[in-house]
């Protein structure tokens, strides 16, 4: 057991593990470890440190560390309501970070318990943060109830801004429109965390970086889309086998040649482009919250999955066209046959 014989003032030292002649980190005070080293680590690295040995596990489980990481990564979580909800989570901010940091990977349909089991929450809290070049430019929290008939039957849509609101940003408009779009695609980031306060789970439905940036041909507004693909209905071949949970930011231009955010909304659409209603969306979202999470590098994976979703959409559309064409041919053939039979009948009389 290593111990210091002289100042600085000591608190508890943790047991040394002897590794030949090298001094193990255990000889360092837990105070120093905590205040100087662990506070400097980001989430994934702190999680790795927690898995090394039981002493570091105890030190790394301190709520203050994880709260600091959550607040610095997602400033919108630093509000009284969300702080309170996070404190009710099974492992506090630690499990909140585990829920919200990774990209969702729930693309398997095995977790299909009866629907009524999955829509038991009465509200969803959305914590949204928008960043440009690594700096926070906008942050907002909204709470949406999910029990009324209005929510369940109408198309699922969370709007962050009121219709007349606009949010100015520090993003400068480039002379060339394509350059502005490229700028937004590379440097704009968004995090949209959905929190279920009753089920005490959370998930991040954004792909962090945009999966597509398109300029509307008529209005000239730029639509920046962040999307995650989730498993929907378990019926193979159905239009909601996979659904796209997408956040669209609509950007316009101000007089001072600066980008303005006019609209920010979250919607869920299936492979036929139809927006699901509140009840169906809630079931899918809750199932995803309870499913497993994975993938740290969300940006590339997010874009890849979105492209695969678009491929599936296209294949589905082509398949539908083929079926329709076959049906048409069948109808034409049937018509011609009927016509020929009629005339044969008439002539043979």
């Amino acid at each position: 057991m290593a111990s210091l014989s002289t100042p600085p003032p000591t608190t508890t030292t943790i047991t040394t593990v002897n590794e030949g002649s090298a001094t193990s980190i255990s000889a360092v005070h837990s105070d120093i470890l905590q205040t100087h080293i662990l506070t400097r680590l980001d989430g994934p690295t702190l999680a790795s440190a927690a898995c090394t040995c039981s002493q570091l596990n105890t030190l790394s489980s301190q709520e203050a560390l994880w709260t600091k990481i959550c607040n610095s990564m997602w400033p919108s979580t630093n509000t009284p309501r969300i702080r309170h909800v996070i404190s009710t989570f099974p492992n506090g901010p630690h499990s909140f970070f585990s829920d919200s940091f990774p990209l969702l990977t729930n693309l398997d349909h095995t977790n299909n318990s009866p629907q009524s089991h999955h829509d038991r929450t009465s509200e969803l809290i959305s914590a949204v943060d928008v960043y440009y070049k690594g700096n926070l430019i906008f942050s907002k929290v909204i709470e949406t109830e999910t029990v009324t008939g209005w929510f369940k039957c109408s198309p699922f849509r969370f709007d962050l801004l009121d219709p007349k609101d606009v949010v100015p940003t520090p993003i400068k408009l480039q002379d060339d429109d394509d350059d502005t779009c490229r700028d937004l695609e590379e440097d704009l980031e968004l995090s949209w965390i959905l929190i279920d306060p009753i089920g005490r789970r959370a998930m991040n439905v954004s792909s962090q970086k945009p999966v597509s940036v398109q300029r509307h041909w008529l209005s000239g507004e730029v639509h920046v889309r962040f999307a995650t693909i989730l498993a929907g209905d378990h019926h193979r071949g159905s239009s909601s086998e996979f659904v796209q949970c997408g956040v669209v930011i609509t950007c316009g231009a101000s007089q001072g040649r600066v980008v303005l955010i006019k609209e920010m909304s979250l919607q869920v659409e299936d492979m036929d482009g139809i927006h699901l209603n509140g009840k169906e969306s809630l079931v899918i979202l809750q199932r995803a919250m309870e499913g497993k999470k994975g993938i740290k590098r969300r940006e590339e994976e997010g874009r890849k999955r979105f492209q695969e979703f678009l491929e599936r959409k296209k294949e589905r559309k082509e398949m539908k066209l083929r079926i329709e064409r076959r049906l048409d041919m069948l109808c034409v053939a049937f018509g011609v046959l009927g016509f020929a039979t009629f005339w044969l009948f008439v002539l043979c009389r």
Binding site: T23, A27, V28, S48, C51, K296
Partner: protein, 126 residues
């Protein structure tokens, strides 16, 4: 006063905490700090140069020395370096770096790995 502990160190003959090698690394730091205080970039370069020759395991000794000598800036610097060194590295690398051994129960470690499976993906190569 930065050097009251240093005086004590020199007076204290039987000192287990700070070997000579470590002392020669840590003690010149304040002078250098004063000389190039205004220029952060130069200080950074000096610090990088210093650390290029230091083994990761030596960093622990440096931290202990800086802590014993009550030298805040050096402690800060060494801890910062340790944090950067283990950023985005695998659990085994962090264990090796800190000279630790896993003392979890068999089921416990598996449970942790399962819970944090996402944090083990995409780590840098050791």
């Amino acid at each position: 006063m930065k050097f009251c502990t240093v005086k004590q160190y020199f007076d204290d003959e039987n000192n287990n905490n700070v070997t000579n090698g470590i002392a020669t690394t840590v003690i010149p730091l304040p002078n250098k700090h004063l000389k190039i205080k205004a220029n952060n970039k130069e200080m950074e370069q000096y610090e990088q140069e210093l650390l290029r020759n230091v083994m990761p395991q030596e960093l622990t000794k440096l931290i202990l020395a800086a802590n014993y000598l009550n030298f805040k800036e050096a402690l800060d610097f060494f801890c910062r370096t340790v944090a950067n060194a283990i950023q985005n590295k695998s659990v085994d690398y962090v264990r090796k770096f800190f000279g630790l051994e896993s003392d979890f129960e068999p089921g416990e470690e598996e449970k942790l790995c399962k819970e944090f499976a996402w944090s083990f993906e995409g780590v840098d190569e050791d």
